[in-house]
Amino acid sequence: MRAALKPLFDPLLRDNPVTVQILGICSALAVTTSMTTALTMSLALTAVLMASSAVISLIRHHIPAQIRLILQITIIAAMVIVADLILQAYAYAISQRLSIFVSLIVTNCIVLGRAEAFAMSNPVGASILDALGNGAGYSAILMVIAFVRELLGFGTLFGITIFPTVADGGWYQPFGFMLLAPSAFMLLGLLVWALRIWRVEQVEPAATHVDREEALS
């Protein structure tokens, strides 16, 4: 039982796509100024990831190796367009705020990464669980970053006032830097740092080893 659910729980923390594999950070920077957009983006990405993983896993025995990436991208792109249309039809205001980032899910490395690394070689059920796990892992990081950015940047959470701002007659002076993209980079960096202090096994081996003696000689 535990082994069967491994694809679902592993990506949450131990092998998180954002903090361990450092994938999908472009959208993690772009949509996290508010919890609402971050949640919508998370749901859209998870839905696209699950649907594309399911379809790719379903036809995995019949995908010719030479054109497999093109076929995967075609399937993912179709799913993304459908998801974007559904958002525009049923959540127009939020889709306007997410602007192009929903359509850019197609370039999100998590989606193609899971298709290539997991769905191509695993049965449908496991692929869907893996997609759900990775979607949830991505969502968790987005929500953490959006929580900090919206709370400090606007004094609100999901648009509800937590710290009344000076402009509205309260005491809180909004931290404007939190609304700019570099703040998300820093928060993400701090988060990765904190996680790797807690779970040392996530620290990558250094990419290049320079022999000190050799370098000096």
Binding site: H61, A65, L71, T74, A77, A78, I81, V82, A89, Q96
Partner: protein
């Protein structure tokens, strides 16, 4: 006699080696076809909702323009913009038309094209409100090139067709915090009362740095000169001779109802 039974053809396809040329082509075709089918069905099924959403957005902006313009809501009888008259006019000869037609356009020469739009659609829709039989308000759509996006908006003119009573920006993708200020109520609040033309009919309206001193001038946004100029040029173009200028003249002289 080749075997054309679809079931056995399908089984042969599944059994074929993945890297054979036939299977590669067939899989490419089948996947693209399924993807195209999914996308087009979604677009067709959701089409009416998407159109309704865009229309609602446009109406909401127009309604906001009316609500924020002092004295306008009282002029409009009944329910806001439903009481507006819609006039679809052909800018080439001022004839009236029934519907917009994006296919009919006039190419603009670079000297004329101050708004940076390339071609001008000939058929345009403007909105009017009357107080009794007199014109109380005319709303013109306008768009033009900003710093990094197309700016779209509505310009509301008072009964003299020369005094701005309100400006609404409905769409823009300018730099957040700088050029995007053109969409904030604070900046737009400068527009009511601004005059478009002087007595000789020359277009004088301008967005200037350091605060406007005359009735024709509006303060530009610091650090966003090109967005400010974009709004100025958009208004100058659309009230000018290649925009609604002739229509406004005809409305003034009574040639248009």
């Amino acid at each position: 006699m080749p075997d054309l039974n679809p079931i056995s053809l399908w089984q042969r396809l599944l059994a074929a080696p993945n890297d054979s040329r036939g299977k590669t082509l067939t899989m490419a075709f089948l996947v693209s076809f399924a993807a195209a089918l999914a996308v087009s069905s979604a677009a067709v099924l959701l089409g009416p909702r998407l159109d309704a959403n865009r229309e609602a957005e446009r109406r909401a902006r127009l309604e906001a323009l009316i609500a924020e313009t002092p004295g306008l809501a009282e002029v409009l009888p009944g329910t806001g913009i439903d009481s507006l008259e819609v006039l679809t006019v052909d800018l080439r000869d001022l004839s009236l038309a029934d519907a917009l037609d994006p296919a009919q356009v006039t190419d603009l020469t670079p000297e004329d094209d101050i708004a940076g739009i390339g071609t001008r659609p000939d058929l345009q829709q403007l909105f009017m409100a009357r107080d009794g039989r007199d014109l109380a308000l005319v709303i013109l759509p306008a768009y033009g090139q900003g710093y990094q996006s197309t700016i779209r908006g509505y310009l509301a003119l008072g009964p003299d067709l020369n005094t701005v009573v309100g400006l609404a920006i409905t769409e823009q993708g300018e730099t957040p915090g700088l050029g995007a200020t053109i969409q904030t109520p604070g900046w737009l609040a400068q527009w009511p009362g601004t005059q478009l033309m002087d007595e000789t009919g020359e277009i004088r309206v301008a967005v200037v740095r350091g605060g406007g001193t005359t009735n024709y001038e509006v303060d530009a946004i610091t650090g966003a000169t090109r967005s400010s100029n974009g709004v100025q040029n958009m208004i100058r173009f659309w009230v000018g001779p290649l925009g609604f200028g002739p229509v406004l003249d005809a409305l003034r002289s009574g040639d248009l109802p």
